[in-house]
């Protein structure tokens, strides 16, 4: 089995502030981390590797420093990593990103399962996974929480708000993973040592034969007009009167809700 896990390096969300004038993220001094949902995707791939054997390739598109994220992900037990990095990739929306990833995966060639996190914590679109499947003409299931291999297909559980679906999907396939797959393991010492030494190839637009008009800002029809923090919805109500009256009013309200 050959697995590909897509990894995105994102700013640690707690540290991010928005410049109120420009509406853009202030990235200076903010720590970069692996998108937490991608760690669940990696955990899913590692569980599959443990049970059925195989090889895990990590794939990330980003600036040169995204190599750190790939090295960290290697320490969890992945085998290889490829960084897609080129100035021409910059400013990509989900459409350009999925195109770029798809081109790279075509170059990788053979694979059985592609794992993505359900979404990234910075953009929160949850679009790249399904778009990527579409571009590669693969069947896919989103919000996967459990995976079993059955001959040349997978039986997966898809997590929904009010229950779950059991879906059979043929291989090769793409899955986006939710945290119910299990908490990510801790990196191993051998993994950390490997991560330190591993050569990570960098593929440019030319390497993956990407069309200029489909990558980066030119391949991105999305335009961000404004970023703002939504105002908190205020729903509070102050009950006044004597203590007995307050208790009575409060009880009536609770009673109404209970009815």
């Amino acid at each position: 089995m050959k697995y590909i896990v897509c990894i995105k390096q994102v700013p640690e969300i707690e540290g991010v502030k928005i410049n109120p004038e420009t509406g853009t993220l202030i990235r200076e001094g903010v720590k970069s981390i692996i998108n937490p949902y991608d760690l669940y995707a990696l955990e899913a791939a590692l569980q599959m590797k443990e049970r059925y054997g195989g090889n895990i390739i990590l794939l990330s598109m980003g600036p040169p420093q995204a190599e750190e994220a790939l090295r960290e992900a290697i320490s969890y037990g992945a085998d290889e990593a490829i960084l897609l990095s080129d100035r021409a990739f910059a400013g990509a929306d989900t459409l350009a990103t999925s195109y770029t990833l798809a081109q790279a995966i075509k170059k990788i060639g053979h694979y059985d399962i592609i794992f993505c996190g359900k979404q990234a914590i910075d953009g929160d679109t949850a679009q790249v996974g399904p778009e990527l499947a579409q571009r590669l003409n693969l069947p896919y299931v989103t919000y996967v929480r459990k995976i079993e291999l059955k001959e040349n297909s997978l039986i997966v559980e898809r997590d929904l708000d009010d229950g779950y679906q059991i879906i059979q999907i043929t291989l090769p396939a793409l899955l986006t993973i939710v945290k119910e797959i299990g908490e990510p393991r801790v990196p191993s010492i051998r993994g950390k040592m490997r991560a330190k030494k591993l050569q990570i190839p960098i593929w440019t637009a030319k390497d993956i034969e990407a069309k200029e008009e489909k990558i980066g800002i030119s391949g991105s029809p999305t335009r961000v007009l404004k970023i703002f923090s939504p105002p908190l919805r205020e729903r509070k109500e102050i009950i006044s009167g004597s203590l007995e009256e307050q208790v009575k009013t409060l009880w009536e309200k609770i009673d109404n809700i209970l009815k």
């Binding site: 037990g77 908490e183 393991r185 801790v186 990196p187 191993s188 010492i189 051998r190 950390k192 040592m193 330190k196």
Partner: protein, 385 residues
């Protein structure tokens, strides 16, 4: 940094710390309450390669030493001394094979221990042989190509959970301690069974129980070293393991101090955080200083062991003695700093205090450690004339 670490040592410390933070602390109260063996956590520790730290690479380990192992034990104990005991006891079972095993024994038994696929355990204590280990009564009688083992080992850490056991039994009763030998036992050997799981005051995530041998017949190739070497093997094993108890004590004490300082900074009485009261502040200062002294002693001795000295019995005893006494005092004081809260199970310090007590007892009581140190002093000064 007070203790500069190499890149590899830093990795070991960080990985063990993450396991403590992410995998142990969220579950430690439940494991303690239910007296549940932490298989999930040990699996995590195994996957992270920590079971093989001090086992040579040719036997599936990482090929580091006592110091690196102690760094891991300290961090795991910072999370839970019960989990750390289960972890360290597997090392205790591995040491005699590593130190005295022949090539075939090492090739057979060390790789699964290093990978954490199998736990190991060490069995010396018996109902009538605690501090007086010379009083063991378990026998191993040679019969052709086999040894027949009879007897009971008591209070053995990882009993029933481990797959590989090293035990000490008498091959020649007449010779007393010189008639003792060490054997490798496997879970599943015919005539080898386990007694009841003990109910303990602390380290309740670890399992303690009896090993029972009733006409247990094992091939003669399971003998470790030579007949009559049993006590030499046991004492050398304990020499290697005792600084590990020191590291465990340092980690536990550090956890208690961390809780106490955090609490003392937040808890307000008489209008101010209680850390600003000298009575509390001095207590914390004392705790922190003692921990640093215990850590310095433990690290120094572990690093000394890694230079392969001929004899380090005295120093190993000192590390175990000093650090475990510190852990008992610091955890008790942490409960005091937290006051009524500290006594409640909602806070982790009462567990830490219960856990600390065993460190003064197991792997040789602290009274025995003082005996060992005093005897060696007597010998050393006797030679100087």
């Amino acid at each position: 940094m007070l203790y500069p670490l190499t890149e590899e040592q830093l990795m070991i410390k960080e990985v063990a710390r993450r396991i403590a933070e992410e995998k142990i602390i969220p579950k430690r109260a439940e494991l303690d309450e239910k007296e549940e063996f932490p298989w999930d956590i040990l699996k995590e520790i195994a996957r992270a390669d920590l079971f093989g730290i001090f086992i040579p690479e040719e036997y599936g380990g990482l090929g580091f030493g006592s110091f690196e192992n102690s760094l891991a034990v300290e961090q795991i104990a910072w999370g839970c001394a019960g989990v750390a005991t289960a972890f360290a006891a597997s090392g205790l079972g591995a040491y005699p094979i590593l130190l005295f095993g022949n090539e075939e024994q090492k090739r057979t038994y060390l790789p699964p221990i290093a990978k954490g696929e199998k736990l190991a355990a060490f069995g010396l204590t018996e109902p009538n042989a605690g501090s007086d280990a010379g009083g063991i009564q378990t026998t191993a009688i040679k019969n052709g190509d086999y040894y027949i083992i009879n007897g009971t080992k008591q209070w053995i850490t990882n009993a029933g959970e481990a797959e590989i056991y090293v035990i000490i039994a008498l091959t020649d009763k007449k010779k007393g301690p010189r008639g003792a030998s060490a054997f490798i036992l496997e879970k599943g050997d015919l005539g080898f069974s386990f007694g009841k799981k003990e109910k303990k005051m602390g380290i309740r995530a670890s399992t303690t129980g009896d090993l029972i041998f009733e006409d247990c017949r094992i091939p003669k190739e399971r003998l470790l070293g030579k007949e009559g070497m049993g006590f030499i093997i046991a004492l050398k094993t304990l020499d290697y393991a005792r600084p590990g108890v020191g590291a465990l004590a340092v980690g536990l004490a550090q956890a208690a101090l961390d809780e106490a300082v955090k609490f003392a900074r937040q808890r307000k009485q008489f209008g101010q955080p209680i850390i600003s009261f000298q009575a509390v502040g001095h207590m914390l200062a004392e705790m922190a200083t003692q921990i640093e002294a215990a850590r310095a002693l433990t690290y120094t001795i572990c690093k000394y062991i890694d230079t392969n000295p001929k004899d380090f019995t005295k120093y190993a005893a000192m590390a175990k003695l000093f650090a475990s006494d510190v852990a008992m005092k610091v955890t008790t004081d942490a409960v005091q700093v937290l006051g009524g809260y500290g006594y409640m199970r909602d806070y982790p310090v009462e567990k830490m205090m219960r856990d600390a007590k065993i460190l003064q007892i197991y792997e040789g009581t602290n009274q025995i450690q003082r005996n060992i140190i005093a005897q060696i002093l007597n010998k050393e000064y006797g030679k100087q004339k």
